[in-house]
C-alpha cells in the first residue's frame, strides 16, 4: 500500500491532505432526513457490546459502513482516531470496535473484544493512529481501506450518539449518510444522465426513493450519489447499476437496526 500521511498521537503538523475538501461541494438536498422516527427498540436497545453506545457501538458501525462502502473483503486498514475517540480509546475499546466493524462484526458481536487477534486471523493488516487535530465532531474516525482487489476507499465517520453514525466524507467528497434507511451509494463520473439512469433502474425494480443527494468535487470528475430507499436494493440491481456507462461502483447498505 502506498504510504499516506498519518499522524501519531501528539503531533499536529498539517491536516491530512486526503481529508481536506478541495473546492466547493454542493449537496443537492430534496429533504432533510436527520429526524428519524424512534421506536421502542431504540429505547430498550440496541443490544451491544459495551461500554459506550457512542464510543464502542458507534465505532464498530463506522468500521462496518467503511467495509460496506469498499464493497469487498478488506486487506489493509489505516485508522485515525480524533478527539474523544482518541482520548478514551483504550477504556472504550474504540480501536478494537472499529477494526471489528471493518471485519464485518455487528455491534453485539463479542469478537469485537478480540478484534486485534481476529484481524490477524482474517489477514487484515491495520495501523491505528491518534490525532489531536480538532474535528467538527468530537467522536470522529477517518478510515482508509484497501481491498483484496486493490480497490481503496477513504471515509470520515462521526459517531453522533446512541450508536448512530454519520458518514461525512467519502473519497474526499463531503456527503451525509446515516444508514438508518436502506442506502445505495453510487460512484460515478459526473455526466449528464447518470442520475436519471440510476433512478430509472430503481423505478423498473419498484424501489421507492425516500431521499437522494448527489455530490461532486469538480465538474465532469468523480461524483457520488446517495440514495435512501424504502426497499433494500438487491445484489442483482447493484450488478445492473455497475454495468451502466459512467458508473464505477455501486454498493447497497442495509439499514442499521437497534
Amino acid at each position: 500500500m502506498k504510504p499516506w500521511k498519518y499522524y501519531e498521537k501528539g503531533t499536529s503538523r498539517t491536516p491530512m491532505p486526503g481529508f481536506m475538501v478541495i473546492g466547493g461541494t454542493l449537496p443537492l438536498e430534496w429533504r432533510d432526513n436527520t429526524q428519524t422516527v424512534m421506536n421502542m427498540f431504540d429505547i430498550i436497545g440496541p443490544v451491544m457490546v459495551g461500554p459506550s453506545s457512542s464510543h464502542t457501538a458507534g465505532a464498530s458501525r463506522a468500521g462496518l459502513v467503511a467495509r460496506k462502502l469498499l464493497g469487498e473483503e478488506p486487506a489493509e486498514a489505516e485508522i485515525t482516531l480524533f478527539g474523544s475517540f482518541a482520548k478514551t480509546c483504550a477504556g472504550h475499546g474504540v480501536d478494537r470496535a472499529v477494526i471489528g466493524g471493518i471485519l464485518g462484526f455487528s455491534l453485539d458481536d463479542l469478537r469485537l473484544r478480540t478484534a486485534f487477534e481476529e484481524a490477524e486471523k482474517a489477514g487484515l493488516s491495520y495501523r491505528v493512529s491518534h490525532s489531536e487535530l480538532a474535528m467538527s465532531h468530537p467522536n470522529t474516525v477517518a478510515i482508509r481501506l484497501k481491498g483484496r482487489s486493490g480497490d481503496t476507499i477513504r471515509v470520515t465517520v462521526c459517531s453522533v450518539g446512541g450508536g448512530a453514525i454519520k458518514v461525512t466524507e467519502i473519497d474526499g467528497g463531503q456527503v451525509e449518510l446515516t444508514a438508518q434507511y436502506a442506502t445505495t451509494v453510487v460512484f460515478n463520473n459526473d455526466r449528464a444522465g447518470a442520475v436519471a439512469a440510476v433512478t430509472a433502474c430503481f423505478a423498473q425494480h419498484n424501489i421507492n426513493i425516500a431521499f437522494m443527494r448527489v455530490y461532486r468535487n469538480y465538474e465532469g470528475k468523480d461524483a457520488i450519489m446517495v440514495f435512501e430507499t424504502d426497499q433494500l436494493v438487491g445484489a442483482d440491481i447493484v450488478e445492473q447499476l455497475q454495468r451502466m456507462p459512467n458508473i464505477r461502483k455501486a454498493v447497497s447498505i442495509s439499514p442499521f437496526q437497534s
Binding site: 498521537k9 501528539g10 422516527v37 424512534m38 421506536n39 421502542m40 427498540f41 431504540d42 429505547i43 430498550i44 436497545g45 440496541p46 443490544v47 451491544m48 457490546v49 459495551g50 461500554p51 459506550s52 453506545s53 464502542t56 457501538a57 474523544s84 482520548k87 478514551t88 480509546c89 483504550a90 477504556g91 472504550h92 475499546g93 453485539d108 463479542l110 469485537l112 473484544r113 486485534f116 490477524e120 493488516s125 495501523r127 491505528v128 493512529s129 491518534h130 450518539g161 446512541g162 450508536g163
Partner: protein, 299 residues
Amino acid sequence: MTDYFSSLESLVSQAEKQGCSLSQLTWEYQATDMKTSREELFANMAGRLAVMRTSGEKGLEETRSPSGLSGGQGKRLREHVPQLLGPVGHDAAVIAMAIAEHNACMGRIVAAPTAGACGILPGVLLSLGKHLGKTDEQLILGLFNAAAVGLVIAKNASLSGAEGGCAAECGSAGAMAASAAVELLGGTPRMCANACAFALKAVMGLVCDPVAGLVEVPCIKRNVSGAMIALSSAELALAGIESAIPADEVILAMKSVGCMMNPALRETSLGGIAATPTACEIARRLDRKQVQASSNRPQ
C-alpha cells in the same frame, strides 16, 4: 402519523379511556407505527430480556474492565448479607451493578436507554421476577411500559448525558424502571406517571462526570442508586401518593435544566467527580498506559 408518545398525560388518559395498561397501549401503538405484528414485537423484546438476564449472570463473574478501574464489585455485593435492604432491593442492586460492570468489561448488554445506564431497568425487573414471582411475559410487558416512558422523555427532553447530564441517562432509566415496576405490581397508568415524576425529581440536575471519560466511575454505582430510586418511587406511587408536579412538566423541567447546565458537567469530564485530584491522577495514569499500548501495537 399520530405521535402517540408526545406526552405521558396523553398516554395515561388514553389508557384510562380504553381501560388498559400503558404496556398494552404501547404494544398496540408500536405495532401500528412499525408496521409489524404484535407477536413479532413480543418475540423481539423477549430476546432483549434474555440478553439482560445473561448480562446479569455474566457480570457476576470475576473480571476487570480494560482500564482496570472496575469489576468484581457486583459479586462482592451478592455475597454480602444485606443489613439494610430487603431481598428485592438487594437483588436489584446486585443485578444493576453486575450489568453495569459487565458493560464496562466490554460484555454484551442492552442499552436501556443508554449503555451507561444499562443496569437499572433489568436490575429492578429481574429482581421483581425473582422475588415476587413475575413471569417473563409480565417482565416483557414491563419493558413495553418502560419503553413508552423512554420515548416520551426522548421526545420532550433527552436521553443523552452530553445534553441532559446523568439525569438524562440514569434518571430516565430510573423513571422507566419505576413506571414498569408500578404496572407489574398492579398500579394504574396514572400511578406509573407519578412514579416517573418521583424518580426524575430525585435526580433533577444530576451531572454527568465520568472519570477519564470512561463509563465506569461513578456510572456503575449510579446504576445501583438509580435502581434504588426506582424502587422507592414505585413504592410511593403504589401507596397512592401523587406528584404535586405532573410528570410531563417534570420532563420539560429536566430539559430546561440540561440546557442551563454548564457543558463541563455534561459528559466532558471537565467537572464534578471527573475534576477531582484523584480522578485527574487516574486519567493521567490511563493516558500513559494508552500511549504505551498504541506504540506496542503491531503495524
